[in-house]
Symmetry: C2
Subunit: 168 residues, 2 copies
């Protein structure tokens, strides 16, 4: 397989993969392109490589920067703005976990703890099932939350090394 072919394949698959994880296809493709680019590239480079509009590139690069996955880079002597992706995959994963936790898990846990406080007779079957379910999900979510906090703070080799050894 040739490099150009493999690149296309990688970008396309990474895009499809992204859609299963709540990330839009184009954003994931831009991220993939940046991951395999040894040097920072411009909006125009991205437009050209992925055949998408300037507006689209602009919006999605902005999102990638907001997610902390991509940096704007200023190159001395260049008028244009360049983009560069964090290449350390552990940092990428950590950053994604951190953001999703903040954007999704934390608000969900907050909501669940409110829903537990409904007024109603616990002897009523429906009420009981509701409270039990919400409590169980909240408890589980709380544990996941703690676990993710540890992961976010942990150093790569220490964390994976220890975890794998622990479970061997």
């Amino acid at each position: 397989m040739k490099l150009s072919e493999a690149k296309a394949q990688f970008i396309s698959s990474w895009g499809a993969f992204g859609t299963h994880w709540g990330i839009n296809r184009t954003m994931a493709q831009i991220h993939a392109l940046l991951l395999i680019s040894p040097d920072p590239i411009t909006q125009d480079d991205i437009m050209e490589q992925l055949n998408i509009s300037r507006g689209n590139v602009n919006m999605n690069t902005r999102d990638l920067v907001d997610w902390g996955l991509v940096d704007r880079v200023l190159i001395p002597g260049e008028r244009k703005e360049f983009f560069s992706a964090e290449k350390d995959i552990w940092k990428v994963a950590t950053q994604i976990i951190k953001e999703r936790k903040k954007r999704e898990l934390d608000p969900m846990l907050k909501l669940l703890s409110q829903l537990e406080k409904i007024d109603g007779d616990k002897k009523d079957k429906d009420t009981k099932q509701f409270i039990d379910t919400v409590a169980a999900i909240r408890k589980f979510g709380g544990q996941a939350d703690k676990m993710l906090d540890v992961m976010i703070k942990a150093d790569e080799s220490w964390f994976l090394g220890s975890l794998l050894k622990f479970f061997k």
Copy 2:
């Protein structure tokens, strides 16, 4: 807050939550409804409670069954078919992890290992960056894969208990 209000809130939020995880809104809502239903319910019950069409209920319950999150239940003396959700949240999470691993992670790892085999000069900057990136992602994915296997096999209390103690 009243039970009916809390139920509506829970179903709606669970649906919104689902969309961030590549699950469609209705499927997640049906799942939520089943989670808080103490007894199995029918297609018609779901149609009525969520105000959606028969076809929609049918397709999404089928998907939920495929995902292993919901069971078809036969109630003696009843003509209609009933649905019931697995209520143990740990089992739900495990099942989701298992399915997503199978549907997404495993194929991605397979693809990555093929992409590493491109022919080209490793001294070329682009080629080197491509190979390095793909290799790093594959390595990371492989570790995640192993970790998830352990989680899937692990017993709830043992796993979470041990893990949390370990990281305390």
